[in-house]
């Protein structure tokens, strides 16, 4: 009765968010693991002979490899039902495999992206019969009929728009061709016909292409992980990321506590200070990086200041491969500048939860500010600090745009930057290794969270044991 209805309400309300989260968190997570650990269609095997099932494999090419097209062979097969004849193209290609050897072999047309294949103007009918129409539309008046095998000249290529057909269903855009040919009676006719039943000869196949698909074996592999680890930049980015965290976090927490205490003390204009201190919450890491770039760049404000103070007579090149420490400093400052407010807000709410009575009692019984901080405030803040620590550390593993904005991502690199570089089409275009980096970051984040939770728990156990 009524109760049944009541009980379902919360679940119904939760449903959209639940579904969304599964789709956009759960599913990508699984995908990422798959990408990182399963060999997918990244490798294309080249075969010794075309169109032979068990032909030997002459070698393997990685996706993205440029290849030369040496030869083309066409095979005709009948599709099931005999309605259409398929022409299957095999290409003989040669390219360089990951080990550096040049290999040659046969691949299917679809597995290689062939540039510059122009469309020809010759074709043939491959359905049993086609109807030529006056206009490129199904409802147009029929002009003539052409039987299978008729050769046609293609005069024009056209495309229809999205439209609603008579039965109310949306029809997708279709390719139509304006062709001319001879009917069985020998009459020359011209009309529009759909693309599908017409086989179009490719006039030329260019000489170069790129491997775009492979045959994944879907087996588990650590190859991508190994690739990631073996890369020179891996240890460098890992080290840099950790150093950044170790430098940034302590300073941030001290600063955040100071800011929070300022906001809690009853000084005038505290709401103005509240606004100012909250501003960095809305600043993206990219903008923050650019802001500090203006300071540290060669013609930037730091140099300007030093010069006008007379401390230097020539601009000091902070951002260069010779001055890695300065770049790190710039990044550290930028991150502290940007992200301290996040910690501050958490600390403020933690502070507000401390009853005034405790602090007043402390003051009454003689505790100085420093003593109150140490013995009353900080212990009671511990839960908030813990949460802030976990959150901030996890976010710090993902630092990305600041680094790129300040130094371009080459001299100094961090884990997230590496993930991006491996993903980027221009560079490696290897989404598997990118996924491996992502997984690695995730692993570190989890590890840190667990470590923090454990560390605090054992501390409590120790305290409980007295």
């Amino acid at each position: 009765m009524k109760f049944r209805n009541m009980n379902w309400a919360p679940y119904l309300l939760l449903l959209p968010s639940f579904v969304y989260l599964i789709l956009f968190f759960g599913w990508p997570m699984v995908q990422a693991l798959g990408l990182a650990f399963r060999r997918d269609s990244q490798i294309l095997p080249l075969r010794a002979e075309p169109a032979v099932e068990e032909a030997a494999v002459t070698g393997e090419l990685e996706r993205g490899t440029t290849v030369e097209v040496l030869d083309v062979e066409v095979f005709e097969t009948q599709r099931a039902g005999g309605l259409l004849t398929d022409r299957v193209f095999w290409l003989e290609v040669s390219g360089t495999d990951p080990e550096g050897e040049t290999i040659t072999g046969w691949v299917l047309r679809g597995q290689v992206f062939v540039a510059d294949a122009s469309r020809s103007n010759e074709g043939a009918v491959r359905a049993n019969s086609v109807t030529l129409r006056a206009e490129p539309a199904q409802s147009a008046e029929a002009v003539a009929e052409l039987p299978r095998g008729t050769e046609v000249d293609i005069l024009e290529w056209g495309k229809t728009e999205n439209r609603i057909a008579a039965d109310g269903l949306l029809q997708k855009p279709q390719n139509w061709l304006l062709v001319s040919g001879e009917t069985a009676e020998g009459e020359a006719v011209e009309g529009w016909v759909e693309r599908a039943p017409i086989f179009v000869e490719d006039a030329t196949i260019s000489a170069t292409g790129r491997v775009q698909a492979g045959e994944g074996s879907k087996e588990w592999t650590l190859d991508y992980v190994k690739r990631m680890v073996r890369d020179a930049k891996f240890s460098q980015s890992l080290r840099t990321t950790v150093i950044l965290i170790l430098l940034i976090l302590p300073v941030q927490f001290v600063l955040a506590i100071i800011m929070a205490l300022v906001l809690q003390s009853q000084i005038k204009f505290s709401s103005l200070f509240l606004y100012i201190y909250a501003i960095p919450l809305g600043i993206s890491d990219l903008a923050a990086g650019l802001v500090w770039y203006t300071i540290f760049t060669q013609s930037g404000y730091l140099n300007s200041l030093l010069q006008s103070l007379g401390l230097i007579d020539r601009p000091f090149i902070f951002i260069s491969s010779a001055n890695k420490e300065w770049i790190i400093l710039a990044i550290v400052l930028a991150e502290i500048w940007r992200a301290t407010s996040i910690v501050m807000v958490i600390v403020v709410s933690g502070l507000q939860a401390i009853p005034r009575d405790y602090l007043e009692a402390g003051e009454l019984f003689g505790a100085s500010l420093w003593q109150r901080l140490r013995h009353i405030i900080l212990p009671l803040l511990k839960p908030s600090l813990q949460v802030a620590l976990i959150l901030r550390t996890i976010l710090a593993f993902q630092v990305f745009a600041v680094v790129v904005a300040i130094s371009g991502g080459d001299v100094i690199t961090v884990l997230a930057n590496e993930a991006y570089r491996w993903y980027d089409i221009g560079a490696y275009n290897n989404k598997n290794v990118a996924a491996a980096y992502s997984g690695f970051i995730m692993l570190l984040s989890l590890g840190v969270a667990v470590f923090y939770l454990r560390a605090v728990r054992t501390q409590e156990e120790r305290e409980a044991a007295g």
């Binding site: 919360p10 919450l281 980096y437």
Partner: protein, 298 residues
Amino acid sequence: MTTTPTTQTAAPLPRVRVRDLPVEQQRAIRARQLRRAGTYAVAIAVALWILLPIWLIGTLAFSAPADVRAYPKQAAPIPFSTETMEFFLNAEGVLPATRNSIVVAGLTLLLSTAISAPAGYAIARYFFRGRDAYRLSILAVRAFPIVILAVPLAVTFRTVGIYDEVYSVALMHTALTLPTTILVVSSVFASVPRELEEAAKVFGCNAVEAFWRVVLPLALPGVAASAIFTFVMSWNEVFAAVVLTLENRTLPALILYNLDKSGDPFKFAGGFFMLVPSLIFIFFVRRYLFNMWGQITK
């Protein structure tokens, strides 16, 4: 025994000078004054630390390109010039990218709020089995690195065919902001006393009417603040945007991608331009931010 209080106009109290007080009291008063001054000093110092860099990049954004490249740099935009900003805005792809960013952020705002509002209400008002588990998983999900989602999502979007579309970035951003928004909205709803809803129900409302007439008006400021914050988060997001877009880039993605090719004027104007919405929006929602982030940690 009764004592009648004597009421007579009291003579004005004499002003006491600090140095006339005993030394101990003097010291105490001075110490307090010093402490107050110290607090103000610290407060102002931190405020300057935050504001100065913004002022600097703003100066460059509103100086002529020649001044932007000059060395040493000037500390104020004199002479004032909109040339650099114009150059930035007219640079190829900037206006479309800005439009994309706005659209993405707007879609994210709508979608995120629409999905999180019912979820937040459910958490706030109903006690149901799995409530704690759900809340815990929301908290956990919030800590997910965006990196691990962006790459596979990009691959999936490619396969499905919605790659490099504005709405696909919005979908991603919604997923990112959803946990925060749900937690915030649920605390906003929880802060509306249950009694108000009950009163509405007693005096003639069904559940939906009670929500509409009583809960929603009171929750609206908090929900609106959360929506605005979602907008800002989406506007700022870089990594996923740059991974998910190619032609239809959002502004951060565009700027990041062009960093190595662009000159200083472009960078500075771009950085400043990205800052401005944050400055404006944070002003409106500053009070709510503390509620928002504070609640999330519970």
